[in-house]
Each structure stands twice: as structure tokens, then as C-alpha cells.
Amino acid sequence: MANTETFYDVMRSQGITRRSFMKYCSLTASALGLGPAFVPQIAHAMETKPRTPVIWVHGLECTCCSESFIRSAHPLAKDVILSMISLDYDDTLMAAAGHAAEAAMMETIEKYKGQYILAVEGNPPLNEDGMFCISGGKPFVEKLKLAAKDAKAVISWGACASYGCVQAAKPNPTQATPVHKVITDKPIIKVPGCPPIAEVMTGVITYMLTFDRLPELDRQGRPAMFYGQRIHDKCYRRPHFDAGQFVEEWDDDGARKGYCLYKMGCKGPTTYNACSTIRWNEGVSFPIQSGHGCIGCSEDGFWDQGTFYDRVTDLTQFGVEANADQIGFAAAGVVGAGVAAHAAISALKSAQNKAQKTPTPTNEEA
């Protein structure tokens, strides 16, 4: 290896104390759904394994993923990006500019052949030979292929890289295309969301380092530890759903009382993400807590499913005691056939899991 510096070395050189380091390890363990027993394992890995070089490239996107990462993250999680991982190349944050920046990327690829992780934010537009996103005089799709060729694995950050996101909305003027349709010969981890939660982003990287393998992925290629449950399953407003108490219009009495937002178009019942457990902006809140329904931004095609504010369905047909799976099926029928299939498969899968699941480090059943 060209570089034997460990994550811990990098953290120490940035003045991060041992105490903060251990705190980070235990926070990460709990974020990953692992017990306290795993904390020393994580700490050991970070002390002994060479830091993983990361190349972070931007295609068609809005940089919200980077922003989520650096702005909203827990200070310790933020240090992951600012020092631990020591991003070797990042379009938005790095010091170099122009040709020097391009050279830095090539140098990293050469130096860490087969060792680095390629983090992709955004996606390539394929229309007209990729001319809608030109980086360094070449279509972004070329840069993406070049950087992916020698990568150990690819992380698709956010809904853009994972699914296409809003720029792929009909009529998809630029033919924005998710990463896995362009890069087909590398392991790809999708971390969808618009943007993904910062702690999810750092958790995924830490897992890969600690256990030296990709996290367990669901059928859509998302880490199961974070995308194994519906927002609805752990929503703090769920008791109101079960009790049939709903917000009927904005700022009504029910809204003041924190009733369920299902009738205001909330897509929580069909959306798999960790918002209702990990929450946002250092655990302060998440969209449902601000009185606005979930828009389902970690699901494929969320941008083209009809209006975000339509009631998913008329609830009376379920009765007040309907469970999430029933609602999930019916709601998905309205939200979109793709999601319906997913919901059905997931329901099946989770039933199987309950019967035969071997212990894995996820919180799927927590």
C-alpha cells in the first residue's frame, strides 16, 4: 500500500482527542444498529486499517448531499469528511482549481488503484453525448467512467446518483441517468434521499471500513440497516394514525396537536428511510415533525408520482385499526406501481426474515 496512515492517525493529527474518537465509535455503533460490544471492534479497525481514499465527483446535481454532510452533521461526523477520510479529490471543497484539480484526481487514481472508493453525487446526462454536463472540457459521463474503472466500490450518494431524482422528471430533458446504469462492473451502494441523512452517509463509510465489506443491501441496493423500515413504522405520529386522528388542513387543530399527516399526502407509509429514527440536523427534527408530510425522497421515481400533496387514498376504507402493511399496499397503488411491487416484496421479505433470519448487524427488527 502506498499509504499506511490509519484513520486514527489522521484524526489525531487533526487534534481530535481520544475521548472524542471513542464517542464517535459508539455513536457510529448505535447509528449502525450495533450493540456496545461492537464499539471496540470499530475502534480497533479505525486504529489499524489504512484510511480509505475517497474520490468524490459531482454530476447533474445540486450539491445538497455534500451540504447535508458538512453542514448538518454531528461535529464528529463532520470530521469524517473534513479530516478522517481526507477526501483526496472533491470538486466543491478542495483547494486546487482548474488543471491542478484535474491532475489531483488522476494522481489519486494512480496512487490508490483498486483501493479507493468513488463517491458519486449527481448523475450523468446521456443525451447528446453528455454535453449537458461538461467538466474539464469533457462530458461528466467520461469522468465518471474513468474514476470508476479503478475504484474498489462506488457509492451513489442521494436520489440523483441512485435513481435520477428531479432532473430525470418527465420529460427528462437531458436524459439524466442513474449511476448503476452506466457503471455495471463495480459493486454499487445506493444511499438515496434528497439529500441522505448525514449520519447515514458517515455510517455507511464507517461500516465498510470496520467490517471490510459492503453493508447488507436491500433489493434496491440500499444499506438495509438504514433503509429497512418505513418512515411510518417509527414515526412519532404513528399513534395518531392508529387512533384515526388526522390533520385535515394546514394549521388546523389536529396540526397543532401533532396528528398524523397521512391525509395531507404524507408518503411515510411507503418510504423506506431512517428519518423518523435518526432525524435531521443533528437529531433535531424531520419533515413530518415540521408539520409537512414525507415526500418519499428515498424511493425511486418519487418525483413523477403525481402531486406531493394528494391524499394517498381515502382512509376510511381501512378503518382506524388498519396496520401499516395494509395501508402500504393500498397507498402504493396510488403512489405508483413500482413502489407497490417494492412494498409487496418487502412485506414478504420481512415475513420471511422473521422466520429464518440469521443475526446480522442491522436494526431491521429492532
Binding site: 448538518s72 473534513l82 449537458f132 435531521w280 427534527s285 419533515p287
Partner: protein, 477 residues
């Protein structure tokens, strides 16, 4: 002396993709051409959608100024409905928007702009070691402190808006979240902590002391905190003589509240403030890779020219106000809003240093506004009025993003979006040439910039470009 042509880009530490072609003679830039090389086609996607979906889709144009886009979309829908939001809802929207703007200025200063002073090319300057310690990209102590401070103040956005970026709370009728008395106290303590950061780190003195500086010399001579370090560097590098803008400053006015806009709207030129007639806005397409005729945004279309024909050289349209270029941004907003110190600086001419000072001023003044607004929250009030978007209609939504004037124009026919045009601040500042051959503000500001013989990414060019804090993903959307 040599004549040469330089292609500068991709630019880092700007939001999105940017490429600038420079013609250089005798060690100076003689012509500059700004290209926004990324196009996504949001305006085409909006067509046929249900109008309120603009609230969810348009913020995703940009992960840095998503609340600005959200506020503009809500304003355009509200204008189409012909009803204002609930007053307390407008207040919460102003708080959300103010925090995003203050965060953007902080990011620009610490992460994007000052990092250039840590470059080895400046080794040997009296301030270089201090600048390196404070501003080195991703590592400097000021960089870290600002990232922490930002994450803290964003708790307020979390509390009121659920999440940042891509907050969903702002609606035409107000906001979805009615803050409680407890929330208000929590926000006050968050703001108090942010004030401590500003007073110990950025300004090195009371926020009010900086906000009330009333002369150009006082602003340029401020010597405390990181603001003082910037002034010291700016004086040494003569940033006050670099990157002149058109001298016309436009602001739509920031934070629409029932009592008026907190920073007023208008067009300022040569000491004269006049109202803006948005009917005189035209987007010129002569040098953009766009098909069709130039038009007012209420009638405009977005049809990319897939052949990318000459003389087009950018995906960016060229907006003009009554046929002329204007500069927009925090400095423009402070000038138009009538801040005495900013006005004094404007009379001395627009430049790199003035733009940075404009942002610092606005950080201080916005902190004061935020404290006032949070104190004025009345938890028992209504935060959302019923504002029904009509089946047919038009609306213009004008707000001020961190980087300047942002407008959304919507046309609704048969309950669906029939036209949606957006002009972002950087569309004004980084526009290409128009049919008369008049360069955009940044293209003009770059003329005369010094280029060393061995430089292929000239430092002066980087300072000038970054002084506008471009947001390229908003520019072409």
C-alpha cells in the same frame, strides 16, 4: 508582449460547474466569456405539473439556496392566488430564509473565498501564515469553527422546517409548523450562541458595532476578528481596486413581511435609487445555447439548442433590466437597502472587497433581525391561511437569495403549469453577452485583471469570480 487565450475551469469552491475563457494580452485580461456548462431543464419539467408541486421540485434546483427557491415558488403561487400568507407564517418564513442566507455568507467567506489566501503563491506576505492557519481548505481553524457554528444555527431550520437542505415548510399561505413557546426559547438560545460565535470569531466585537459602521473607511479599516484579517489582506492585495461591476445594483428586497421588506427593493445607480419595473426584464438568448426569441420571463421558454451553435457559448440566458446589465448580491442589497456604509462604498465603486464586506455587513444585520423576529413570534397565532391556487392565472415571486435577486414566474392554465421561468441571481451576474455584444457583469469585471506569465488559473481571476459567490446550479437550472 504575448497574447494568449486561457480556459479556466472547472472552478472549485464555487457551487456547481463553471468555465471561463479568457483572452489575455500584455499581462491583462482583455475579454472574458463565462460558460455555465451544466443544464438540467427544470423549466421544461415543470410544464404540465400541478402548480403546488413547484414547492417541492424547484428547491431541488440548489442544495445551497433551497429555501430561497422554496420562498420564491411560494411567493409566485401566492401572487397567482392573489392572497398574502398569514402574517406570522411570513415571519417564520423570514426566519428560515434569513438563517439560510446567513449560513451561505458564512460558507462563502470561510470555505469558498478566503481559502485562496492560504495559497503558496502568497507565501512571504506578512499575513500568509495567519491566513493559512485560519483558512486552509477543509482544515483551517476558521473553516472548522464556521462549519460548527453553521450546524448549530441550522437547528432552528430543523425545528421550524424539519430538515435542511430541501426544507418543505414554506407554503403560499404561510408555514406548516406552528412554533410553540418552548421552540421560541430554544431558538433564542441558539441565536445567542451564534451571536457569541460572531462576536468572538468573525467580528471580534459586538455585532452592532460592525453593523453600524457608517463610512467606507470605517468598514475597510475594521481590524478585529477574521473580518479584520480579511481587510488587512484586501488592503495588501488591493482587492478594493479589482473586479469592478456595472455600478448598477438591483435588489428585489429581502424578507417580505406585512410591514414591508426588511432590506428594501430598488435599482441604485450613481447615488440615485429608483423602483424596479420588472416588466422591463428580458432574457436575451443571442449568446446562449437556447432556441427561440428573447422574452419577458412570464412569456419565456427554455428550449436548449442541442447543436450548441455559435455564437452561443453558455447554457445561461442573459437577463437584462431595461436592456442593461445589473449586479445583484448581498452588497447590492445593502446599497439598495440604504445602509450608510454600503452606500459610501458604492460611491467609491464596486469591487472584490466591497462584495465581501457587503456579506459581512449582512451577516451582522441579519443576526439582529433574526433576534427581533424570534422575539415577535406569537405561538397562539395562525401560521397558515387558506390560499387556494387558482385554475387559471399568473404569478411573479420575487425574493432575495443570499446571492441576490431571485424571481419565479408561473403561468397556470386548466389547473396545470403552462409556463415556469426562473431567473436566479447568478443568471444576472454570470450572464453571457447580449445581442448588443454587452458582456455580463462578471465578464466585464474580469477585463483588466492581472495575469502572470506562468499563471494558467490566475489568482486575480479567481478572487474576482469568487467575490460574486456564484451559484452555477441555480444559474442554469
Amino acid at each position: 508582449m504575448s497574447q494568449r487565450s486561457l480556459l479556466v475551469g472547472p472552478f472549485n469552491r464555487v457551487e456547481g460547474d463553471l468555465e471561463i475563457r479568457l483572452e489575455v494580452a500584455e499581462g491583462r485580461v482583455t475579454n472574458a466569456y463565462a460558460n455555465s456548462p451544466m443544464f438540467r431543464g427544470f423549466e421544461q419539467m415543470m410544464l404540465g405539473k400541478v402548480p403546488i408541486d413547484a414547492l417541492t421540485i424547484t428547491p431541488r434546483i440548489c442544495g445551497i439556496c433551497s429555501i430561497s427557491q422554496s420562498a420564491a415558488a411560494a411567493a409566485a403561487l401566492g401572487a397567482a392566488a392573489g392572497k398574502p400568507p398569514a402574517p406570522q407564517g411570513a415571519l417564520v418564513a423570514a426566519i428560515l430564509h434569513g438563517i439560510e442566507n446567513i449560513c451561505d455568507h458564512l460558507t462563502h467567506f470561510n470555505l469558498f473565498f478566503c481559502a485562496d489566501f492560504a495559497r503558496p503563491a502568497y507565501a512571504g506576505r506578512g499575513w500568509h501564515s495567519r491566513a493559512t492557519e485560519r483558512f486552509t481548505a477543509m482544515e483551517g481553524s476558521a473553516v472548522r469553527a464556521s462549519v460548527d457554528a453553521r450546524a448549530q444555527i441550522l437547528h432552528i431550520v430543523g425545528l421550524l422546517g424539519g430538515k435542511w437542505p430541501h426544507t418543505l415548510a414554506i407554503q403560499p399561505g404561510g408555514v406548516t409548523r406552528a412554533p410553540t413557546a418552548r421552540d421560541r426559547i430554544r431558538m433564542m438560545s441558539t441565536l445567542a450562541a451564534f451571536r457569541r460565535y460572531l462576536e468572538t470569531v468573525l467580528f471580534g466585537a459586538a455585532v452592532e458595532d460592525f453593523a453600524h459602521l457608517g463610512t467606507a473607511d470605517a468598514l475597510r479599516g475594521w481590524a478585529h476578528g477574521d473580518a479584520g484579517l480579511f481587510n488587512e489582506i484586501a488592503a495588501d492585495l488591493d482587492l478594493g481596486a479589482m473586479g469592478a461591476g456595472p455600478g448598477r445594483y438591483m435588489s428585489f428586497g429581502a424578507y417580505p413581511l406585512p410591514e414591508g421588506r426588511s432590506f428594501g427593493p430598488g435599482l441604485w445607480e450613481n447615488g440615485v435609487l429608483s423602483p424596479i419595473d420588472t416588466d422591463t426584464i428580458r432574457e436575451d438568448l443571442s449568446h446562449a445555447w437556447m432556441l427561440g426569441e428573447g422574452a419577458h420571463p412570464s412569456q419565456g421558454q427554455t428550449v436548449p439548442d442541442e447543436d450548441m451553435r455559435d455564437p452561443g457559448y453558455s447554457w445561461c440566458k442573459a437577463p437584462r433590466l431595461a436592456g442593461r446589465t445589473v449586479e445583484t448580491g448581498a452588497f447590492a442589497r445593502q446599497v439598495v437597502g440604504g445602509h450608510a456604509g454600503a452606500l459610501a462604498l458604492a460611491l467609491a465603486g464596486s469591487n472584490v472587497q466591497a462584495r465581501v464586506i457587503g456579506r459581512l455587513l449582512e451577516i451582522a444585520r441579519t443576526q439582529m433581525l433574526l433576534e427581533k423576529w424570534v422575539a415577535a413570534l406569537k405561538p397562539e397565532s395562525r401560521f397558515m391561511d387558506d390560499v387556494a391556487v387558482p385554475q387559471e392565472g399568473e404569478g411573479e415571486g420575487l425574493v432575495e437569495a443570499a446571492r441576490g435577486a431571485l424571481g419565479h414566474w408561473i403561468r397556470i392554465e386548466a389547473g396545470k403549469i403552462a409556463g415556469y421561468q426562473i431567473i436566479a441571481p447568478t443568471t444576472w451576474n454570470f450572464s453571457p453577452r447580449d445581442a448588443n455584444g454587452t458582456p455580463g457583469p462578471v465578464e466585464a469585471a474580469l477585463v483588466g485583471a492581472a495575469v502572470g506569465d506562468s499563471e494558467d488559473t490566475p489568482l486575480s481571476v479567481q478572487h474576482i469570480v469568487r467575490s460574486f459567490d456564484p451559484c452555477m446550479v441555480c444559474t442554469v437550472h
